[in-house]
Symmetry: C2
Subunit: 386 residues, 2 copies
C-alpha cells in the first residue's frame, strides 16, 4: 500500500468530521458546527447575481491566479490601504497558502490557546512547531506573548482578534496596539484571520491589528459568515511582495478560484439590499446569542462558566466540574452535538482547562431550548471530575 | 523581510505567466496558451444551469469535502468502477493533493519528458526528486521506464496518456498494457492525468491506463476543456483508501470546492444538448488542427518537424536548426507568442532536443494564418544554431 506523507500522518483529525455521520441523523440537534443559518442566506440577491452571469461570458474562461480584477478592486477600495489582495477558495485557502509559502518543517508558529482547529491543521500540514499563548477575554496574555517571542524564533503569529473561534473573545484596543508593537519589535509576521469581524452584535468596530502593524501582516477575510459559505470565496490582503509567493503556490495548487463565484459574490455584496440583509442577519444572531446565554444562565449556571461574546458564532463555556470529552459523548447520546475544548489545542498540548464550544447561529430559538434541555440531561448523567 | 519557504524557492516559474503582460497586448496573437475557445463555451446551457441554482438553496451552505453527492454519483456511474471520487478545484488541485498526501521531501517521482509544466511545479513544491522517461509517439520508452523503476525507488509515475501536453502523444494500447504491468511489478503508483481525453479528433478511445492497472492508480479528470475552465471543477477517481488522505489535506486546504459550480457543471454535462455542443467543439478544433498543420507543412517544413496529433490542443514541433528560447523571443517581437520546449523539462534537466509548443484551439483560421506568417518572419530573423 502507498505510504502517506509525514505531514498527513501528523495532522490533527477533526472531531466534527469524525462525528459527522452521527450529527447528520435527523433527530440530532447540533451546537457543534460553525454553520450560518441557511434560512438567512440572501437567496433573492444570489438568484439575481446568478442570472447576470451570462452577461459576462469571459468569466467562464481561465482567469488570473490573483482573482477577478473587479472584486479585487472593490476589496482594495473598501480598505483604501497601499496593499494588494489575492482571492482564495475561502479564507481557509489563504491560511494554507501562507503556511506553504513561508514555513519550512520545524519553523515555529505561535497561536492563541484555544485556537481555530482549521489553522492548527494547516500548521500541522506545514510540519511547523506550534507554540501557544493564553487567550484572555481582551486578547492574548502580553507577558506570555513577549516571553514566547523573546525565547523562540517565532516566524508567524496566527490570531483571530474579532470574536475568536472558539472563545468568542474580542481584543481590546490597547491589546491590539501592544501586540502590533511586540510583533514589530521581534520581527514576527501576523496572520489576522477575521471571518467574524462583521458579525458584531454590540459596541463599535475596533481597528484591525494588521492596520496597526508596522511589520509584515496578512489580513484574511471571508464572505462565508455574511453571504454564503458554499461559494467558497475568501481573500488575503497584504503588501504585494508578501503575496507574490502565495500566488506562485496558488498557481500550482488550483490555477485560480472559480470566477463565476467571485462575480456572483461581488454582485451580492454590492447589491442595494445587502445592508438590509446584514442587519437582519445580525439581529437574528444577536437574539439567538441572548436566548442561548439566558438558557444557560438559568439552567446550567452551576455547571458552566461563560461570558456573552460581543459577536461571532459561539459561546465558549468552561466546565469547572466535568471532563469535556466525556460530556460531548454523553451529549451525543442525548442527541445534541457539542465540541469538546480539547479540539482547539494543538495535538501535543494539554488543554489548560475543560471547556465546550456552543454554536448559536444555526438553530432557532425553540431548537436552542430543546438543545439546552438535552445538554442538561447529559450533564446530569456525566460524573463530575475528581 | 519574511523569508519564503524552500519549496517555493525551488519551484519552476511559469514562462507563460512571465510573459502574461506581453501576451495580453491587443495586437498579440497567442499560440502559447492552453486555452479553449471562449466563443465555443455552451453559454445557453450554462445560463440555464445558473438559473436553476436557486432551486437548490442547500448548495450555498458548507458542504462535504468530498464534493456534491449528485456529481460524485454521476461520475461513478459514468465509470462503473469499484472506486470513489473526490471533486477538486480543477484537476490541478487533485495533483497537488496527491503530492501533499504521499510525497515527503526527496521522494522520487517519474514524469514523461517533456511533461506538463503544472505537474512539474506541483512536484517541485512537494520537494520531490523528479526523474524522467522519454515520451515517444506511442508512449514512454519502455526500456528506459523499466530501468528507472528498477534502479530508483520511484513512488509515483505521472503521465498524460491521451494527447499529452505538450507533445500531443497518445499512448498505444500495447504500451498502456506494458506500462500498467511494469508499474504493478515495481509497486509504483500511477497518476493518470486525462484532461484532453474527450478531445479526440480521429480513431477510437483506448482504455485508460488506470483501468488496466492492478496497483494503486489515480485517474484525474477535468471539465475545463469540454465545458469551461473558469468554473474550476475537476476530480480524481481512485480506490477509497487512496483518496482518504487527499480528503484530509483538502479539508485543511479549502474545506471543499464551490458547490454552485459543481451543481452547474452537473446540469451542463447532463443537458440533452451537451453532446451536440461536444460535437461542434471537436469538429471546430479538428478543422483548426488540420489548418495549422497544413500551414506549417506548406510554409515551414524545412524548419519544423512535427506529427499531427489525434486529439488535444497542441502541435509539438521540433526545431532541427534553431534554439527554442531565442525563437520564442524573436516571435514575441513579431507579435506572436509560443512556448519554448525548455519549459516542459524539470528545472535541473537539459531538454533532449529543441522544440516549441503551438496551440490550435484558441485562434480562428484567419488568426492562425496570420500567426504562422509572423512565426515565419521570426524564424527567418533567428540565426540557426551552430
Amino acid at each position: 500500500m502507498l505510504a502517506v506523507s509525514k505531514r498527513v500522518k501528523q495532522t490533527k483529525p477533526s472531531y466534527i468530521r469524525n462525528i459527522l455521520k452521527v450529527t447528520q441523523q435527523a433527530d440530532m440537534l447540533s451546537l457543534a458546527g460553525g454553520l450560518p443559518d441557511a434560512e438567512l442566506f440572501p437567496l433573492d440577491i444570489l438568484t439575481q447575481a446568478a442570472d447576470e452571469l451570462a452577461q459576462s461570458p469571459s468569466i467562464f474562461q481561465y482567469g488570473a491566479t490573483e482573482g477577478l480584477t473587479e472584486l479585487r478592486q472593490w476589496l482594495l477600495e473598501e480598505n483604501g490601504a497601499a496593499e494588494d489582495v489575492l482571492i482564495t477558495t475561502g479564507s481557509q485557502q489563504a491560511l494554507d497558502l501562507i503556511a506553504r509559502s513561508y514555513l519550512n518543517p520545524g519553523d515555529k508558529v505561535l497561536c492563541e490557546a484555544p485556537s481555530y482547529l482549521g489553522a492548527l491543521q494547516v500548521f500541522d500540514l506545514a510540519e511547523a512547531e506550534i507554540h501557544t499563548v493564553i487567550a484572555e477575554a481582551d486578547g492574548p496574555n502580553l507577558a506570555q506573548l513577549e516571553q514566547q517571542l523573546a525565547n523562540y524564533k517565532i516566524k508567524l503569529f496566527y490570531a483571530v482578534p474579532d470574536f475568536q473561534n472558539p472563545s468568542g473573545h474580542c481584543w481590546s484596543l490597547s491589546k491590539r496596539k501592544a501586540v502590533a508593537s511586540l510583533l514589530a519589535k521581534y520581527n514576527v509576521a501576523l496572520i489576522e484571520d477575521a471571518p467574524y469581524r462583521q458579525l458584531r452584535y454590540q459596541g463599535e468596530p475596533l481597528p484591525t491589528v494588521s492596520k496597526l502593524s508596522s511589520y509584515a501582516a496578512f489580513h484574511l477575510g471571508s464572505f462565508s459568515k455574511i453571504a454564503t459559505p458554499g461559494m467558497r470565496v475568501g481573500y488575503v490582503r497584504a503588501k504585494q511582495a508578501l503575496l507574490a509567493p502565495l500566488i506562485k503556490v496558488k498557481q500550482a495548487s488550483d490555477l485560480h478560484s472559480a470566477q463565476p463565484m467571485q462575480l456572483m459574490l461581488l454582485a451580492t455584496v454590492r447589491h442595494p439590499s445587502f445592508t438590509e440583509h446584514l442587519d437582519k442577519l445580525t439581529n437574528t444572531y444577536r437574539t439567538r446569542r441572548d436566548y442561548l446565554a439566558e438558557l444557560l444562565q438559568q439552567q446550567l449556571s452551576d455547571k458552566l462558566e461563560f461570558n456573552v461574546p460581543q459577536g461571532g458564532m459561539f459561546i465558549w463555556a468552561r466546565l469547572p466540574h466535568h471532563n469535556a470529552m466525556s460530556l460531548a459523548e454523553a451529549a451525543l447520546r442525548q442527541k445534541v452535538a457539542i465540541v469538546p475544548g480539547d479540539e482547539f489545542w494543538p495535538s501535543n498540548h494539554t488543554p489548560d482547562y475543560q471547556a465546550i464550544r456552543l454554536n448559536f447561529t444555526a438553530l432557532t430559538e425553540p431548537q436552542l431550548e430543546q438543545a439546552v434541555s438535552r445538554l442538561k440531561k447529559a450533564l446530569l448523567q456525566c460524573s463530575p471530575m475528581k
